[in-house]
């Protein structure tokens, strides 16, 4: 079911601007999917008794880290590798770690998972980022998380349009400057002409705590963080970007009902597109095709394994996978964002 929502989404949300690329992308995806098994077969045994580094650009214990530790033994078994070693390199949201993987040897022995927000960092031209994500070799992605706008119930805002009319400026908490949450909230402010002040620097569950304590008026958060706040009466959901199976969010309005102008549609669509690219996994650019195909095959095989899915569910990690070739197409499409979106992102990233 979860996988279906992704497949349905792909053609539905490609915009007019990207229609030009739709056909070549789909042909490439289909081609790669057909070629993958034969290439894997030719290179079977490449990883046997080799040690693979799985670099996580986040501190131990976070969502990316938990997923990596869950996936590592399964990948080890699928690839026949001696070990898949998880390395946490959390400095600067994982940018230095990703730079190292990007410049590393293209032997498929170093994998990297990264915050999806780095896609926005590249579009906005963040300092210190030497990586061109379009060049990375993508192995796959494992999850999707819709984004939800939550506000305090005492504000008496029952629909999104109330938020557009609200004043004086409402305070919205987000994680650090430049993070996906910060950029997305600021983009929404700009595109929907919301009377908001985006406060950055609320790490971890701090933004949710600030909302529960009544210190800020709202947040843009992931679908998994929303239900406890809604059920406890600390927040009400106004708008959702992306599809969800979560019952607490089933009646929340989708952005398509409120987006009117080009900017509004552009921003909302890109936020929804990003929500699909959760738990991305990539390796060094120019990895030989058979090696990359073997990595993609192993990843897809683990993602389809019932035991792995059950284990992930026990860890509160929902699996909604996509193959590396499809991810590559989605990433390239996202990075080819039109100039207006680049301009908007760059504006939010100005210190």
């Amino acid at each position: 079911m979860a996988a279906c929502k992704t497949v349905i989404f792909l053609p539905a949300t490609l915009t007019n601007r990207s229609k030009v690329f739709r056909l070549p992308i789909l042909i490439a995806v289909l081609g790669l999917c057909l070629l993958a098994p034969s290439r894997a077969a030719t290179d079977e045994g490449y990883f046997r008794d080799k040690t693979i580094s799985y670099v996580v650009g986040q501190a131990a214990g976070g969502g990316y880290d938990r997923f990596a530790r869950l996936l590592a033994p399964h990948l080890e078994r699928e690839l026949g590798a001696r070990r898949v070693v998880v390395q946490n390199v959390p400095a600067a949201a994982g940018v230095p770690a990703l730079n190292d993987v990007y410049r590393g040897r293209p032997d498929g022995l170093t994998l990297s998972t990264m915050n999806t927000g780095l896609l926005l960092s590249q579009i906005g031209g963040l300092d210190g980022m030497e990586v061109d994500l379009a060049q990375m070799d993508w192995i796959g992605k494992a999850s999707s998380e819709a984004r939800v706008i939550l506000v305090r119930p005492d504000l008496e805002l029952s629909v999104f349009e109330d938020l557009q009319r609200a004043g004086p400026p409402l305070l919205f908490a987000s994680s650090r400057f430049g993070s996906a949450a910060f950029v997305q909230t600021d983009l929404l402010r700009e595109a929907f002409d919301l009377n908001l002040r985006v406060l950055a620097g609320f790490g971890g569950a701090e933004a949710e705590a600030a909302l529960a304590k009544g210190e800020v008026h709202g947040i843009l958060t992931s679908e998994s963080n929303a239900p406890p706040l809604i059920e406890a009466g600390h927040a009400i959901p106004l708008l959702i970007f992306g599809s969800t199976n979560n019952e607490a969010l089933s009646n929340v309005r989708r952005w398509t009902e409120v987006a009117k102008s080009d900017d509004q549609r552009l921003v909302a669509e890109q936020i929804e597109r990003m929500s699909l690219l959760g738990r991305l996994l990539a390796t060094t650019p120019a990895t030989p095709e058979p090696v990359l195909a073997e990595l993609r095959r192993a990843f897809s095989s683990v993602m389809a394994d019932e035991a792995f899915i059950a284990e992930a569910r026990r860890n509160s990690l929902d699996i909604d996978p996509l193959d590396g070739a499809v991810v590559e197409a989605l990433v390239l499409d996202f990075l080819r964002a039109d100039d207006r979106f680049r301009e908007l992102v760059a504006r939010t990233l100005e210190p």
Partner: protein, 501 residues
Amino acid sequence: MLDALVLLFSSPGAMLAFLAAVPAGLMFGAIPGLGGKIALIAVMPFLFGMDPVSGAVFLISMHAVVHTGGAVPTILLGIPGTGPSTAVVMDGHAMTRRGEATRAVTAASAASAVGGVIGAVVLGVLIPASLWVLKLFSYPEIFFLALFGIAFSALLSGSAMVKGLITGCIGLAMAFVGIDEIFGVPRYTFGQPFLFDGVDLIAAVLALYAIPEMIALSHRKGSEAAAAARSRPADGRGQVLQGLRDVFVHRWMMLRTSLIGAVVGIIPGLGGDVAAWLCYGHAAQTSRRPELFGKGSVEGIIGPEAANNSKEGGALVPTLFLGLPGSSGMAILLIALTPLGIAVGPDLAANNQQIIWVMLWALVLSNLLAAGVVILAARWLAFVSRIQPRYIVPYVYLLSLASVYMSTGEWRFFLLFAACGMLGVVLKRQNWPRAPFVIGLILGQAAEDALVKSLSIWGPWFFMRPGALLLLGLMLISLISLSRKLIRSSQSVWEGDHAAR
């Protein structure tokens, strides 16, 4: 409430988990740089298949006693076992050098146990009022608490107050390294991405203490501590009794610091470092002999050690009942509880009260057991301080480097480790206090973050909140009172010296 205790004792799985968790927690605390977070991450894969009671008992018991174990290397080797242990290193290691290692370890463990129990009581009492308490303390209060700690750091440098101020300012300046999280402005990063997140605390604090202490140790002919220890008649059991007596004598200060620790634990974003240093400051401010702080005062051990452990009970209040982890350690604990089927949040108290009481008992009993184990072993642990330096120095260096790599995963932090180590050596040789540097580094980040958020949310009048006003007043009164005491005691020392001449 008592049903939960019966359940804990009657479940073989839970008892086994409890008995395995305490030594594991002590070990993770005793290895410098590891600490509670790494402990939780390391054991998470082994929790699958455990029943909720056993799993929760294991996690809570192990996490609760990490700081009790952390006091051991801090006192014996002068190397902080965990971040908050830095508040204990000056007085603890000074006591070891004086040959009172067993007394110091005993006092630290007993204070930890009492603090842990008080933290558990606070957790039990505050269950219905957790959100109210959370609302009482916000960014303005955090700012004044951090300012409190920074202000004390200079005063606690005793006669070297100017030196303390200078090293404190260097620490503060280093706290500003990195990309500012709120406005995204890079500060002193020299274009190096590994510095974008700022100076890593584990690398800086370990280097500042481990390198100078090990260099000093390797230059000694034999161990001075060993010589001192051998020369003291009140060794072994006598020192254990003395340590326990110290805790009894300073029971009211210990009670206050335990309560402060528990409250700091409840406030998201403060954490154990702030709790320990605040309580160190409070112990000095209320002491009759504040001039002895930093030179081997047992009160300088009891205050922060009680706070370290009581903080854990306080931190569980928002984590368990609101699903809002107050620190990264609590966030990992929350994650670790999920696969056990324990859904934290507002419904926990309504749906699963028994598990709360089991966790509370685990918190109490693990603190008592850990303290008992360390006190019983204190006499033998003190032998560590008598081991010949050539056997111990290389291992401490290796362990420190391994800890830095484990915490950062970045080889570039070894450069920072080396730089801070050199700074530590210079400060130690010139007899400049290192603690204000650490306080500046730790609290500088917290103070800046809280100030900017306070201004953003409440504007320039943020300090008019009742809690903030109360803390501001308390800070001014405490600083004036401590300054007077220090001036008076330094005058009496000066007059004594004069009369002797």
